[in-house]
C-alpha cells in the first residue's frame, strides 16, 4: 500500500513569521496520522495546503494520487475537511447544511438528501436536524462539521483539531466517532494539541514545532521517548519512605525517583489505572499512609520539554496541561 498523502519540503511564510519550514509528510493508505503541536506550530497551515486552500511558498504535495498544486480540483473530489472552528451556516438547519454540501459535491438532489439524513442519524443529530445550527451546543456543531466532511465518503480525511474547546464528555464521543470512521478504511490526517488524543487515535504521530518535524513515531515510541506514565505518591511520614520505595519498585518499569524532603516517590509505570490500583493495595497492605497519590501521563508539554528543552508555547488561552487529577479518591477500591 502506498502513501495517500505525501508532502515534500513545504515552506510557508506569513510576512516574517515562518509557518512551515520544510515539512515532509508521508501517510500510508488506511492509516491515521497525528500532527501534534502547540498553537502556531504550523498544523493548520499544513492541512490548508494539503486541502488546496493555501499555496505553499515552495515544496509540493500529493493527495489521493493528485498533485495539490497542479490538480486541485481532483484533490477536492477525494478529500473531506473539518476545521477547528465548525464551518457551518448558523442559520441553516443541520439537514440543510449537509444537503447543501452534498449538492456541492454533486451527489444530486435525492442522494444529497438521503445522505444528509443518514449522517444525521449516524452522528446522533436526527432530532436536531431540523433546527438551525445556532441552537446547537459546541459538541453538536463539531459532530455536524465532521459529518460535513463525510458527505461524499471521501477516501482522505483532514480533521484540524477536531476536539479543541470541547468538554471532556463531547471529546470522548467524538473520539468514538472518529475511531469508527477509521475502522472503515479512510485515511486520516488529524491535527491536535493533545498528546492523549493523538495517542488514542493515531497510528503514527509527528510532533511539529515552528513548522518543523521534531519527532516522529508510533504513540508508544513517543511515549517511551518522553518517559511514559508514572505514579507519584507522597507518604505521610518519612519513616514510611523506605517501605514505600520497596513496594513501588515492584510496579516500576524503570528507576524510581525519590524526593526525601517532600516524602515523594515517582515511579515510571506501564498499565495505567490498573497498575495504580494494585500499587495502592500493596501500599495499604504494608500499612503505608499516603498523603497524596496520582497517576500522571505525559503531556504535550512533557514531549516538548524532552524534545526541545522548552515548553510548548501556546498562544491560545487554553493550556496544554492534561495531567490527570489525583486518583486518591478511588484508592482501596
Amino acid at each position: 500500500m502506498g502513501n495517500v498523502i505525501e508532502a515534500f519540503g513545504l515552506v510557508k511564510h506569513y510576512g516574517d513569521v515562518v509557518a512551515l519550514d520544510g515539512l515532509d509528510l508521508a501517510v500510508p493508505e488506511g492509516s491515521v496520522f497525528g500532527l501534534l503541536g502547540p498553537n502556531g506550530a504550523g498544523k493548520t497551515t499544513a492541512v490548508s495546503i494539503l486541502a488546496t486552500l493555501l499555496i505553499p511558498d515552495s515544496g509540493s504535495a500529493r493527495v489521493a494520487g493528485a498533485d495539490v498544486l497542479e490538480e486541485p480540483a481532483r484533490v477536492r473530489e477525494r478529500i473531506g475537511l473539518s476545521g477547528q472552528y465548525a464551518a457551518l451556516d448558523e442559520h441553516l438547519t443541520g439537514f440543510e447544511n449537509l444537503d447543501m454540501i452534498g449538492r456541492l459535491y454533486r451527489l444530486g438532489r435525492s442522494r444529497s438528501r438521503v445522505r444528509a439524513r443518514e449522517l444525521l442519524e449516524v452522528f446522533d443529530l436526527s432530532e436536531a436536524g431540523n433546527r438551525p445550527v445556532k441552537t446547537y451546543s459546541g459538541g453538536m456543531r463539531r459532530r455536524l462539521d465532521l459529518a460535513g466532511a463525510l458527505v461524499a465518503s471521501p477516501p482522505v480525511l483532514f480533521l484540524d483539531e477536531p476536539t479543541t474547546g470541547l468538554d471532556p464528555r463531547s471529546r470522548l464521543d467524538l473520539w468514538g466517532v472518529i475511531r469508527e470512521l477509521v475502522a472503515r478504511g479512510s485515511t486520516l490526517l488529524l491535527t491536535t494539541q493533545y498528546l492523549e488524543e493523538a495517542d488514542h487515535l493515531a497510528d503514527r504521530i509527528m510532533v511539529i514545532d515552528q513548522g518543523r518535524d521534531i519527532a516522529q513515531g508510533t504513540p508508544d515510541e513517543l511515549k517511551t521517548l518522553v518517559g511514559g506514565e508514572r505514579i507519584e505518591v507522597t507518604v505521610v511520614s518519612s519513616s514510611d519512605l523506605p517501605r514505600a520505595q520497596e513496594v513501588m519498585q515492584r510496579f516500576a518499569v524503570g528507576e524510581l525517583a525519590s524526593e526525601v524532603r517532600n516524602r515523594k516517590i515517582t515511579a515510571p509505570i506501564s498499565g495505567g489505572a490498573a497498575v495504580l490500583t494494585r500499587a495502592l493495595r500493596a501500599l495499604d497492605a504494608e500499612g503505608v499512609d499516603l498523603h497524596d497519590v496520582g497517576l500522571r501521563r505525559p503531556t504535550l508539554n512533557d514531549v516538548f520539554l524532552t524534545l526541545t528543552g522548552h515548553a510548548a508555547e501556546s498562544n491560545g488561552t487554553r493550556g496544554t496541561s492534561e495531567d490527570q487529577p489525583s486518583l486518591a479518591g478511588r484508592a482501596g477500591s
Partner: protein
C-alpha cells in the same frame, strides 16, 4: 460546457442558502426595507418642500436619485456576506469542495439582487404614497427598475472584492460608507448637476450614478417639461453610459474578486 452548467447549478445552491438566511433572520430584512422608507419620507418632506424645481415637483425629481443611492448602498450587503463567510470559515469549506470556484461569488451577487428587488418594491410603494408617479408607460417604468437592478448587480462585484480583502465584517460598513456616500452625493441624485461648482459639476456629469439617475428619471417620465437638455454626453445618453459602466465594472471586478477568492482563507 459542462463546467458552465455546473457553475450555475452550484451558484443556485449558494443563492438558495443565502435566501434561507433572509427567511431566518427577518431583522435584517426589516432594516433593509425600513431605511429606504425612511429615506423617501425624509427627503420628500424635509427637502421636498424647500427645494424648487422649475416646472416640476422635487419629490418626483428626487425619487429616482433615492432609488439609485439605495440600491448602490445595498451592494454593501454582498461584501458583508462574503466577509462574514470568511470569518466563519464557511469559505474554507466551500473551497475544499469539488464545486465551481466561481459559484460562491456568483451565487452571492445573485441572491443580493433579491434584496434589491424587495427594496425597490417597498420604495416604489412608499413613493406612490408621497405622490411620486411613473408618467411614462409601464414598460418604460420596468426598464427603469431593470436598469437600477443591473447597475446594482455590477456594483456588488466591487463590494465582493472589498469583502474578500477586509479583515473583518465591521470594516466593510465604514469603508463602503466612505466611498459610496460621496459617489452618490456628488451626482445629480438630489440636486441638478448644473447647480454644482465647476470641478464637482464635471465629476457629477461623468459619474455613472448621475447617468443611472438621469436614465431612470427619463424612463419614469420624471423630468419636468422645459428642463434644459444636459450638455454632457453621459447625461445625454444615460442608458448607454450606465450599461457601459455596468459592463466595465463586471469585466474588471468579477475577475479580480474571483482571483482573490482563490486565496481567501480564514485568518488565524
Amino acid at each position: 460546457m459542462m463546467a458552465v452548467v455546473h457553475m450555475f447549478a452550484d451558484a443556485a445552491v449558494i443563492a438558495k442558502r443565502n435566501m434561507i438566511k433572509i427567511k431566518r433572520v427577518p431583522e435584517v430584512l426589516v432594516f433593509v426595507l425600513l431605511s429606504p422608507i425612511m429615506f423617501v419620507l425624509l427627503f420628500a418632506y424635509v427637502f421636498g418642500g424647500s427645494i424648487n424645481i422649475p416646472g416640476g415637483s422635487y419629490r418626483e425629481f428626487l425619487i429616482a436619485g433615492i432609488f439609485a443611492q439605495t440600491v448602490v448602498f445595498g451592494s454593501t450587503f454582498t461584501g458583508v456576506g462574503i466577509a462574514d463567510d470568511i470569518q466563519k470559515g464557511i469559505i474554507d469549506r466551500f473551497r475544499s469542495l469539488p464545486m465551481s470556484q466561481a459559484a460562491v461569488l456568483i451565487g452571492r451577487t445573485a441572491s443580493d439582487v433579491v434584496y434589491n428587488v424587495l427594496t425597490l418594491l417597498i420604495m416604489g410603494l412608499t413613493g406612490l404614497v408621497v405622490g411620486w408617479r411613473i408618467n411614462s408607460s409601464l414598460w418604460e417604468g420596468l426598464v427603469g427598475f431593470g436598469l437600477l437592478l443591473a447597475f446594482a448587480y455590477a456594483f456588488s462585484w466591487t463590494m465582493a472584492l472589498v469583502g474578500l480583502l477586509v479583515p473583518s465584517v465591521e470594516v466593510i460598513n465604514n469603508a463602503s460608507f466612505m466611498v459610496i456616500f460621496p459617489v452618490t452625493f456628488i451626482a445629480n441624485t438630489f440636486v441638478p448637476a448644473e447647480n454644482l461648482p465647476s470641478v464637482l459639476r464635471t465629476f457629477a456629469e461623468w459619474n455613472p450614478i448621475s447617468a443611472l439617475t438621469q436614465a431612470v428619471r427619463e424612463l419614469f417620465g420624471n423630468i419636468p417639461p422645459g428642463t434644459p437638455e444636459p450638455t454632457a454626453w453621459p447625461l445625454q445618453n444615460p442608458v448607454v453610459y450606465t450599461l457601459i459602466w455596468a459592463a466595465l465594472i463586471i469585466a474588471v471586478f468579477a475577475p479580480l474578486a474571483s482571483l482573490r477568492y482563490q486565496k481567501a482563507v480564514k485568518q488565524g
